[in-house]
């Protein structure tokens, strides 16, 4: 088992009243899973994804990732944990505008203190794998949305994470680009990468092997 959430709740205080963003979530993920989180707007999908990605805290419950219980870890250890094992893909790509495609891919490796030659070969591999060698010296603004998202995925993958978290990865793309991205995810999943995606669309949901439906912060 890769991770497990037990009775996780998250709320905000509003006018002396608790408003639950997540309520009593129980949920586990095995390595190699491809999970889709579905639900209408405001149902807590993104919040749940952020909790899993350790970008956000929760108020109650337990969360274990591999051997570690995340809820007891200090901020710094938690950050180390997600940096090591989790890759993020965002709806609006979040590439660094000032860096070229190549440099964007290289960035996570710089932070992890890879050597220059190693960085070069890993970046080269990624460019090959996603077929974007020709774009390596372009800046994000010079790419189409689909291409930017490909770079986003490549960047998430480059440090070989165990888990990819994708928050509406096709939300800003047209249907053809969206399909290509989903194909890419399927391919990755076959190669053994665990994927959790948040999505609105029934079509994208079907790429996953398991679906979790959320409504008003609870699993239904």
């Amino acid at each position: 088992m890769l991770l497990q959430l037990k009775n996780v709740s998250k709320w905000v205080q509003s006018g002396g009243q608790k408003i639950f963003l997540l309520k009593d979530i129980n949920f586990w993920v095995n390595e190699g899973d491809f999970i889709s989180i579905m639900g209408p707007s405001g149902s807590g999908k993104s919040t749940l994804l952020n909790v899993i990605g350790m970008l956000d805290n929760f108020n109650e419950g337990e969360y274990s990732f591999l051997e570690d219980s995340v809820h007891t870890l200090k901020e710094k250890h938690r950050a180390n944990l997600y940096k090591q094992y989790i890759g993020f893909v965002f709806q609006s790509y979040h590439l660094i505008d000032e860096l070229t495609v190549k440099e964007n891919l290289e960035m996570p490796l710089l932070y992890k203190k890879f050597g220059a030659s190693e960085r070069k070969s890993l970046v080269g591999d990624m460019l090959d794998r996603f077929n974007i060698v020709g774009k390596k010296d372009l800046f994000p603004s010079q790419l189409s949305g689909g291409q930017q998202q490909l770079v986003g995925i490549a960047r998430a993958l480059i440090a070989s994470p165990k888990l990819i978290l994708a928050d509406e990865p096709t939300g800003n793309l047209n249907s053809k680009q969206g399909e290509e991205i989903m194909e890419t995810f399927t391919q990755l999943n076959k190669e053994g990468v665990t994927i959790i995606q948040v999505t609105h669309s029934e079509k994208n949901m079907k790429y996953g092997s398991r679906v979790i439906n959320l409504l008003d912060g609870s699993v239904v």
Partner: protein
Amino acid sequence: MFKHYLKIAYRNLLKNKMLSLVNLFGLTLGLASIMTLVFVVHVYYNADGFIEEEENVYYLKTFTTSGHDYNQTTYPLLEKIKNSCPDVVAGTHFFDWDLPLLSYQDIELQERRTSYVDADFFEVFTLPLKYGDDRTALKNKYDVVLTDKVSKKFFGEINPVGKKLVLNDTLSVKVAGVLEPISSYASLRLGVLLSTQLVEDYQNFKEHTGWSNSFTYNMIRLNANADVQKFENQVLDLVRQNYAEPSHIKAIKVVPYTEVRVDNIPIAGIIIKGAIATIIFVLLIVLVNLINLNTSVMYGRTRQLAVKKILGDHKKSIVFQFCLENGLLVLISLVVASFLFAWVLLPEINEIFGGNFGEIAIEIPNDYPVILYFLGLGIFITLIVGALPTLRFISLPIAIALKGKINGVRKNLFFRNVFIVVQFSLAILFICTAIILNYQISFMKNAPLGYEQENISIARIDLEYTDKESAESKFSEILDKLKSNPFVQDFSTTQIVPSAYYRSYTNFMDPESGKEIRIRYGRTDANYFKTLGIPLLSGRHFKENQSDTDIGTIIINAKAMKALGWTDLENKRLVNKGETSDGFEVVGVTKDFHYQGMQNNIEPLAHFYKGKQQLKNNNYLMLKIVKGKEQQVLKQLENDFAQIPSKRTFEYEMLSHKTNAQYDLLRGILKTVNFVAFFTILISCLGMFGLISLIAKKRVKEIGVRKVLGASITRILLLLSKEFIALVIIAGCIAIPVAWWLMNNWLQTFAYRIDIRWWMMVLGGLLALLIVGITVGIQSFKSAMVNPIKSLRVE
């Protein structure tokens, strides 16, 4: 990694071209100003650095019972002090006596700065010698020590120690040393140093140097642990025992030598303090402005920061990245500012203050600490403006930052507003200062002076003639020609002209009433008042005749008459205090006129009749020439003077030019204030510009929604700018009373001054408001004009 950061920094600067340029411009201007002022302050404080243990050096200051003070004492006092006070390590006189002519082979030189000092001189002032030995120099009666500049005039680049100079064509003196150049801001202005043993032989010196004539400065080095108070009492005891008229002396103070420069030029202290205050102020403004702008930049980057953190970046490196970006900016500014400082501002400063303090230049061997200061300053600025704005953002929770939402902005609004208010208070303060100063200067310039300024030309006639007798006869020919020249209405040969009266005072007594008066005096000829058009209130002008019967008569001004309590001039005489002679007959009273700048009061004044018109002992030839014919007459005069062999060339200028020059320093200060005011408002507006664009960015949705709901452009303009306008109004409310108080105090130092009017203050405030209004307006308008479809489409 570093290369990577550098790359991002560089690209970021390029990306925000406008903002970078604006930052660069403000920062460069600020740094250049700071550099210039730091340099001035540095030079000022290090100018006397050659004096070792300066804290042990003192000078004597005399306070009289009539309320005056001066830095001189009688000549024999120092010898007594040295003999009777064990705490004295060394002491030296320092005074001018005559301007001896020095010659070496065929080079002749009359150095204006020729001072007589004691053998102890080099023990008091540890001046570095380029050539010679400071242990022996000036110990010998016939020693002379030259500054490097003077030495070069005689000997060029060679070591002149041991060479003989001829003094006044009679005595031979030996060069015992050559001084290293010292800063022109130093307290000592040196040229030629001669021994007091030499001057003690002069007949006219022996006659005047008793216990009644105070003319010499005294510098004394005391033991490090000497009791200054006790020493002061000892000095006063000696004064009481020896002075001819000890009752006139209230006290002799022993003043630390470190205070001498401010004592000599009081405005120097104000200027240096002002400079330090301005350094702090400019630095503050630059910092606040950059922090505000950078904060706005950081808002735009919250998402990017979040992504970087997710990808594994550390907080430290985020701060480092931003510091690097700012460091790059600061470095470029520093380089540009250095050029601006060295080639524009420093010459400018020299022009403003050079006349009063001497010019300064950068000399790397002496001034290298300044370069270190500047580098330190650059690092300091980088750290502050790079680190401070980031700190708030790096601890933002990632999930929130990722959405680009900025929490906690409200909390910091207070500080931001305080910054803005402070910035604009200072700006308004400076604008008001500039306005008032402008009015004061133009008031002084245009006030009636009590004499004619127009059509009066002044020529210097003390030109160091080689043959004095033949010069005199040629000069009387020139005067004859002038008399017959129809374009010359009047002319006068005189020792003094308005704006150039000597600081000579004497104590007169009215032998009838016994009333005493301290009076400033000068010497002129019979035509002086006529030429200047100064009317007599009563009495008559001096009369020039063959036997010069008027020598020994004086004309006083109305002020003196009032001080003496006279109502008419019948049989009025004035006697030098303490003398029993008949004194001087007072023949006339003039209306008061401004013989010096309007900063100063009109004092009781006495003009002695100097005898018939001649070259001897006169400095100026003053001419009243028919309008439009000045050039013709003066050119002719120049040609005539060229016929008389002399060491200096004939020069002339207009009297109005001379009186105007009395306010040069003030104009310099005004120029500086104007610059700072301009700079402050510029920087403040740049900051404001950045802030508004940030706020508009944050409120882009709100603006969109309001527009969709039907808000007009004007409403949105108002919405965005009213807060800032309000802040500037608050700033005005703070600054205006402060400006009023400050300027009112400062104006008190002017004997003749304007009243501060309310509209000057309001004008200052309105000016600031107008500039802010335009800045804010432009930026708000840009945001207000954005099509709401675009701003609402995001997400």
